[in-house]
Symmetry: none
């Protein structure tokens, strides 16, 4: 049998709980969503603990699980994911950090952890610090949005188990401490990096200009969230498939890159409520032509959940449904398609929750159960049962006739 | 989001199999139980393997699992649980045993393993043996109901891996043997304890009196079921919650104490068919006011199951339903409530069985599925799916907004 193509659509945080003021419905239950319901009607559905029952997934650990990786084995911290998202090539052995551009006084006391939420000039400041050598370590730094950036150390004998230099509040910049004997060198290099960042940035033209205008200078970098990549074999090597991901958010892009996906820039995909759904649909259809496995993340539902905004979340469902409709209209029936969420972000919680998420798999000759609607409760009674996040990718590969055989 | 309170009601052994003479119904299906059914209608339901598929749970291992502990990691034997239930403070490093008062002849042959089911005087006999020192070990002994008692050794270098002194039949008292080299001292102390118990008890006034009345003297103690407490972090430490348990049976009380629950004495709760259901309901409601997590065990269903008495079991269901109705009438809707059983005790088996048990979680903004009745088969089609006993507590904590987050 010819192996089939696979498409995974992850609606970030879309899953919810029933809300009393809205007739005890969840946003998914309250929305008009003919495409999602059609997918459920033509496939098999279930309920998924993305990490495990009673564990609230972060978007990072959740996506690792959805791609088939056990986050308890491969996840060490947010650093490498943000760095990969920023476009830095993170390799095994590297140690990566998230960073803030911040404002300190001459005694290295933090005055503003976000350097007045600096909007421009960080590209020039980034160039000033990136590429430096500390001992035998090469420093790679890349700016992100506003005051954010990503830092990667490349060199021998590094270990991610170091404490943050970022004090996470106003006060003195912290001396990073090794949290394991093997991490002594990394802490030493990190502290030297922070000192040098101040020396290199404090008199830069960008900061002189800011000070002239009465703005806080971005005169130091405060690293946090150290992490390394552990045994993260790319999907191509694990499953022998070519992969591509469409995402607006840096974090999700980073995970896609770490697992070896092509991550094309899709103009108009913002990771916000204003993302261009049609552009995502077009990109997904085009990538299904060129790749074995295509992943699409839509962030907007999570944003509405964090905002506690039921009506907007209903609108997001209907927008995603429109996008899904565009995809399904032109998608070959042999493509195994999964629709799910990475976690719940109930509007009454305004944060991620441990509630399981709905999941439907359809297309490619999938079995068909009696589930007629795509929502948290309807799918939970389907033929897929209650599964774990790390089981989804193997199930998908199985339905696409790409599973390994065990025994004879 | 403010964390919610949690209430877990465990109907001991209530789960069953269909019985031909009763129209192929289980006792749960045959009973009138409006409160249970209302709970199912307003929540999500499932089917639960309390230990694992095809493993018959004991009440001890089952309750450990329901409280979120992996019994394969924390359970070593019944001894510590009975001892805690009897009110002895059992600590890590102690070795605990269940004991029978028995009757032996002068050559230490067991004549009656239950000393004529002695009804009174064991408190006095217990005082005669408790507190003795053997080598550097302190002996704590406490009488239980009838011929039963609990024994705890406290001292350095003890190990629970010793064989029973109780021959479990008439015949010679057994010499306890170490089952691991580290347990040599414990076996030696245990054998010395058994010998001394005979010396101390044989001429006690209680036994002289019994012999004068033609009754078997309780002239020796026969320990069995050695166990230790392993890494049993209390629930308060594991989850940061205050806990209370209501139970009539010593065994269940013991588990509640071992996991760090407050276990108030509730007059009228007997652990038998005659337990005071209204007293239990009142206690549960009052404890929900003062604690984060409240547990209620009702033993009567298990008793009817062991008796093979279908009609009595139906009556037990209806009594528990009355108790649940009293609770739900006054319970705040924000309390996440779970109704389940610790194992099945089918009337046709007259013992525990491996059949999964029904489970419903409701309240606190829970999702709502289509399940309308609380019984073994109806709940199994619900949105909770098929879960394991150790997953229940994490699920409950998740719904109560008390779950940990993993990742960012």
């Amino acid at each position: 049998m010819k192996p089939k193509k696979m498409l995974m659509i992850v609606c970030d945080g879309l899953s919810d709980r029933p809300v009393k003021q809205f007739d005890m419905k969840t946003p998914l239950q309250a929305a008009r969503k003919p495409a999602m319901d059609a997918l459920a009607r033509h496939g098999i559905s279930g309920s998924m603990d993305v990490i495990a029952p009673g564990i609230i997934p972060g978007s990072d650990t959740a996506h690792l699980a959805l791609f088939g990786y056990d986050p308890y084995k491969v996840y060490t911290g947010r650093g490498p994911i943000e760095a990969a998202g920023a476009g830095i090539d993170v390799k095994k052995g590297d140690v990566a950090f998230r960073c803030n551009f911040a404002t300190v006084d001459a005694s290295l006391r933090v005055i503003d952890r976000r350097a007045g939420r600096i909007k421009s000039g960080t590209d020039r400041l980034a160039k000033a610090v990136s590429g430096m050598r500390i001992e035998d370590v090469t420093v790679v730094f890349k700016e992100g949005s506003e005051h954010r950036g990503a830092l990667v150390f490349k060199g021998p004998g590094l270990d991610f188990r170091v404490s943050d230099a970022d004090p996470h509040a106003e006060g003195r910049v912290l001396e990073s401490k090794p949290l394991a004997p093997e991490a002594e060198k990394t802490a030493r290099v990190l502290n030297e990096f922070v000192r040098r960042s101040y020396d290199l940035l404090k008199d830069d033209e960008v900061n002189r200009e800011r000070m002239r205008g009465g703005q806080s200078p971005a005169n130091i970098l405060l690293p946090r969230g150290a992490g390394s990549i552990r045994e993260l074999d790319p999907l191509s090597k694990r499953y022998g498939i070519t992969c591509a991901g469409v995402a607006g958010v840096t974090l999700v892009k980073g995970i896609c890159r770490l697992v070896g996906m092509d991550v094309p820039d899709v103009p108009g995909t913002t990771g916000g409520l204003d993302t261009d759904y049609k552009a995502k649909a077009d990109a997904a259809l085009s990538l299904v032509g060129s790749h074995d496995f295509v992943f699409v993340n839509v962030k907007a539902g999570d944003v509405a959940g964090h905002d506690g905004d039921f009506r907007t979340k209903v609108q997001v469902v209907e927008n995603i449904d429109m996008m899904l409709g565009l995809i399904l209209k032109d998608l070959h029936e042999d493509v195994v398609t999964v629709l799910t969420a990475d976690h719940s972000t109930p509007v009454n919680v305004r944060d991620h929750s441990a509630d399981p998420v709905p999941v439907t798999v359809s297309g490619g000759g999938s079995r068909v159960d009696g589930v007629k609607e795509f929502d948290e409760v309807s799918t939970a009674t389907g033929a897929l049962g209650r599964i774990r996040g790390t089981e989804l990718m193997p199930i998908l590969l199985g339905m696409a006739d790409r599973a390994p055989k065990y025994g004879a």
